[in-house]
Amino acid sequence: MRMSIRFTLILLLILTSPWPLLAEVQDETALDIQVREIAKTLRCTVCQTENIWESGAPLAQQMRGVVRERLKLGHSPEDIQEYFLSRYGDYIMMEPPKHGVNWLIWVGPFILLLGGGLLLYKEVNGWVRGTPSPPAAAPPPLDEQARQRLERELES
């Protein structure tokens, strides 16, 4: 009885409501969790940098509905993302899809790191060679007190 009341209630809400999240969940099932995972990768196109999971906008609600329906039909998460991509373009993903010019920002930082690292390595080695080496004569042995002091200084 209570179930059916709730069901009608929710049905009413779907038709009338500005209550986006209500329509969807009772208690989380495996499907809900899958919906959430996918929803977090898709952008709400009418919001400001928000994914469709966190957004309360009606459009985001509809899109979550689409994700849910397609999951029920047995589509894989990749299929669903592909579907949204084909309709909205790259903008719909929370990360730039890895193709074309977008590769720039995917590999750019690592190229910088690698290139900078190599350059730095070469430069430092060059400086090391250019630096006059300290006299090679063995230092006289230290007494215990001096050794301890030296150790302290080296540590700090």
Binding site: L22, E28, G108, N125, T131
Partner: protein, 649 residues
Amino acid sequence: MIIEIGHFSVIIALVLSVFGMASSALALKTRNPDWARSGRMALTLIFSLLSIGMLSLVYSFIVRDFSVLYVANNSNSKLPFFYTVSAVWGGHEGSLLLWVFILSVFSTLAVWLHWRTQPTIMPYLIAVECAIIFGFLCLIVFLSSPFERLLPVPLDGKDLNPLLQDPAMVMHPPMLYMGYVGFSIPFSFAMAALFSGRLGEEWIKVTQRWTTFAWMCLTTGILLGGYWAYYELGWGGYWGWDPVENASFMPWLVGTAYLHSVLVQEKRKMFKVWNLFLIIVTFSLSLIGTFLVRSGVLTSVHSFATDPERGLYILIFVGSVIGIAFGALILRSNKLKSQVEMDSLISRESIFLFNNLFFLVAAATVFLGTLYPLILETLQGAKVTVGPPYYNAVFMPIALGLLFLMGIGPYIPWRKASVASLKKSFSIPLLAGAVMVVVLAITGIRNLYALAGTYVVAFSGMAIVLDFGKVSQLYAQRNSSNIFKGCLSAFTANQRRYAAMLTHIGVLVLVIGIIASTIYQTEKVVSMQVGDEFTIADYRIKLTELHEVEGGNWKAEEGVFQVFDGATLLTELRPQKRIYNATKTPTTESAIYAINMGHIFLTMPEVSPEGVAVARGVINPLILWVWGGGIIMGLGVILNILRPRKKDE
């Protein structure tokens, strides 16, 4: 009337900033110290006048004078008193005024503090400070004045953005701005050094505490912003890689690189150009950060205003600061060639260089990620989103590299490290990391980031503890005291170093908090009526009551949720769905219960008239470590600033 006094004061301050620049130029030309003194007076007067400007605006907010446009837009007759003051920086115009006010405070302080010890560069310093103040005041006076009147006078104000009606938001902007503006002091000293040709280590030593102070303010500001986002925006996280957050993170990253690399110049007199470059970039990013947020270029929750004139002015202003600064650096570069002496690739100075590389690449990543959508849209008309998944994949590995270097750097000697000393310093930390990873893997943790993060944290943490332990023991032996006194005397004798290590420990604690609370967050969304319950992790959450409550300027639906662990009642949480009367904006007020260093975080995003509530529960394990780590970092920095002055400083 009052607001006109403020307006007039700010205009006079603008005129005085021109006078300050002129008198500094005359001081240099005539070599008459009186001109420098009048420059100092101009700066002091600017500070007094801007104080009057600020006070007049604060006053107008307190008396709720809605004939002032800015007050009418950002306040309301029902706005609580506490927030009427913070509403001063709730919008574009007022926050710019706050920025330049803080700048006038800092620069006046700097000029008076260092007047005696740095007489020759003072005119340069005053000129640079006045120029920056001039740039900001032009913007305020001509393009975005908070002193405009509104006719006819509205009956009531539009109200402060409800999201900003929050204690953390009272403190967040001033802290952030104190950080941004704080970097203007080392920047101005650096520019003074460039213009005057006095390019020694002096300016770095003089500004070391300023830099540390600025860094602390910026760090605190960023963390406060995260804390605010955490409980006010209601999605259960504290960092969303939002462009506005990124805008404050970029100067932090480069500023941190600068903070470290000046140590090399202090000790070894190398990398002069590099340090100048870093401070110029840091301050430029502070300016860019301010304007990115305040110009509305970025489409994000925080940006309010869009105005092409302002945008153009800002572009020209930031462009000239960067252009002049780098121009001076290039013109002086032949004078800056320092003899680089490097004994080995494995030395502290070389680790510092790699530290800088990582910080800069990290900053470049954030910069690229933030601006890429804008660039792509301008060039190709295509739109993309660069969101958290991107940063998790690209930024995190770089951050792990930095944490690893953090474990190595402080324990590698200057000039050259021998293999034996490396073994001595790092074999135990490396082992400690491995042991931790094995232990975690056995307990069932398989996430690669979690394991890598743990390894790095254990390694770096062990290196710090080991070194401090050894040195403390030496001190204890020497003074034949116990180990606790040894720790104390080791700390006080090397306060600069060990205060920094305390900050490093804070970073490690923070990182553990971040790893645990992001990777092991659990979340559940449930719709329920009074009497229903749901379980999340080990906790049972039951909705016992749903009622309306009313605050001064808002109404809310409040849910009363009992949280059970097994059969024991832990607490009652009362999340709200608020509607603010004036703006009709809804906000979700989260309710939080701290347990086992983590949080049970509950919000109620929707309530239907029929009494069905949507509840969203989030468990954030170890999240208290994030804030605790921040506090430890701050403590370390304070101890660093308050250290007794040594002879060579």
